[in-house]
């Protein structure tokens, strides 16, 4: 499969140069440390830990997911990609890479977070798992699309969170709500509406991405 081959190329490149993994790993550790130090010995409510969890996920995503497109643009290999693949293949390949990256990154964050924050106790595991999966897919899709946009602009680093936040906001708000449901042990039947929102968001964003990517990618 063509996009899988593109993903393999990116993965292989990442293994050789280790740009994203190193900086991303350090960022996660630093972000969690900053929050731990700021909280100190205070007790925080379980609901608050749910919110902070997604804050860390958002900023880690902003730190690591733009590399997929920005590295190609900065080195000038965008042209090479245009010569070997159709826009749909390019987007799928980059999305695949970012999906893997998001899931790896968030599994690490979840593990570290549950070890370090005693109040972060999930009661409804299935609900948390569903939120985790669909929420991460949504983050990957939107982040990849916005990364494609900012790769073609200047001041990429600061522009990325500025553009991504309004787009990710509905997803983050709903995911925070779902996480607090999972912490409180709310049954899935009552969280149905919110799960449907996240799923709708994923579907709408991925359709829009494929339709709009051509305009972003081609000059």
């Amino acid at each position: 499969m063509k996009s899988y081959a593109l993903f393999q190329k990116d993965f292989h490149s990442e293994l050789r140069t280790r740009y994203a993994i190193n900086s991303l790993a350090m960022f996660i550790i630093v972000a969690i440390s900053v929050i731990l130090f700021s909280i100190g010995n205070e007790n925080i409510s379980p609901g608050l830990t749910g919110g902070l969890f997604w804050v860390i996920i958002f900023f880690s995503a902003m730190s690591g997911l733009s590399r997929a497109f920005v590295s190609e643009e900065e080195r000038g290999t965008s042209l090479t990609l245009q010569l070997i693949a159709s826009p749909a293949t390019v987007f799928t390949g980059k999305l695949l890479f970012n999906l893997i990256l998001v899931f790896l990154m968030n599994i690490v964050i979840t593990l570290l977070y549950s070890m370090l924050f005693a109040e972060f106790i999930i009661q409804n595991y299935l609900l948390f798992f569903l939120t985790f999966v669909f929420g991460n897919i949504g983050i990957a899709i939107s982040s990849t699309l916005i990364a494609a946009i900012i790769a073609k602009a200047g001041s990429k680093g600061t522009l990325y969170p500025v553009l991504s936040f309004p787009i990710l906001l509905p997803l983050i708000l709903t995911s925070v709500k779902l996480t607090s449901f999972a912490i409180d042990g709310v049954p899935i039947s009552e969280a149905f509406f919110e799960l449907a929102i996240v799923l709708c968001y994923d579907i709408i964003m991925i359709s829009a991405s494929y339709m709009l990517f051509d305009f972003i990618w081609k000059d």
Binding site: L145, I149, A153, G154, L159, V162, P166, L212
Partner: protein, 234 residues
């Protein structure tokens, strides 16, 4: 010229009427407004807050529509129209947020309480800000128009989430939110005739003002670019 004077008089009347007419329990005279449960004395801000909120959404819609036109026809005039609409949109958005928080302070006790509608207008402000930030980061005219058009469309897709879905899942303080049994003064027609009159006149006045400013705005952008090109060429 006649229209401009008419518009000026209309907006003056609306502003004065909106602020000066008294609110009494049982209106008897033509210039008195009724007492609405839940809003009482601060009902008057409805004449300014609702039109500005309405217009910022219209401006966003227009900006997105002209963006789509640009993507289809690649005519930079459409990009100028989109930009002029967004400029006005962000101004009205700031006005709506400010009038909203003033109202919020008097009605609910604090300037900001993360009510879903407040969150939505804040999100719209962020979208506008991001859009302008994106535009200032791109040098080439074509690329700037294309990328900001794409971002406009993506941002527009998140708007339904804020307008329809958020209020349903979060309880809010706004009139007409999930837990408000009054269903809002506009829908329920709790306003008496004179209040409705001022309200609709205000909406019409502000809307005409917006379209007039937008017209001037995009034409001046196109003209400015033409002059710039003449200068650089000659």
């Amino acid at each position: 010229m006649i229209w401009k004077i008419f518009l000026f008089l209309l907006l003056c009347f609306v502003s004065i009427a909106g602020i000066a007419f008294p609110i009494v329990q049982s209106p008897t005279k033509w210039y008195e407004f009724p007492f609405i449960l839940g809003l009482e004395q601060n009902a008057k801000i409805i004449f300014f807050h609702v039109p500005t909120s309405w217009l910022t959404v219209i401006a966003f819609l227009m900006s997105t529509i002209f963006s789509i036109q640009y993507l289809r026809k690649k005519n930079l005039d459409d990009d100028a129209k989109s930009y002029a609409a967004a400029q006005l949109g962000i101004i009205f958005c700031i006005l709506a947020t400010v009038t909203g928080s003033v109202w919020s302070k008097f009605a609910w006790g604090s300037f900001w309480s993360w009510d879903p509608r407040q969150t939505s207008i804040f999100a719209l402000l962020l979208i506008y800000g991001a859009w302008f930030a994106l535009r200032s980061a791109i040098e080439s005219e074509d690329k700037r128009a294309t990328l900001s058009a794409v971002y406009s469309i993506i941002a527009f897709l998140t708007v339904p989430f804020f307008i329809f879905i958020m209020p349903r899942i979060m309880t809010g303080l706004h009139p007409g939110s999930a837990d408000d049994t009054n269903a809002g003064p506009i829908v329920d027609f709790k306003m008496n005739f004179s209040m409705q009159l001022i309200f609709f006149l205000s909406m019409i006045g502000f809307t005409i003002l917006y379209f007039w400013m937008w017209n001037l705005g995009y034409k001046s952008i196109i003209l400015k670019e033409k002059i710039n090109r003449q200068l650089t060429r000659g």
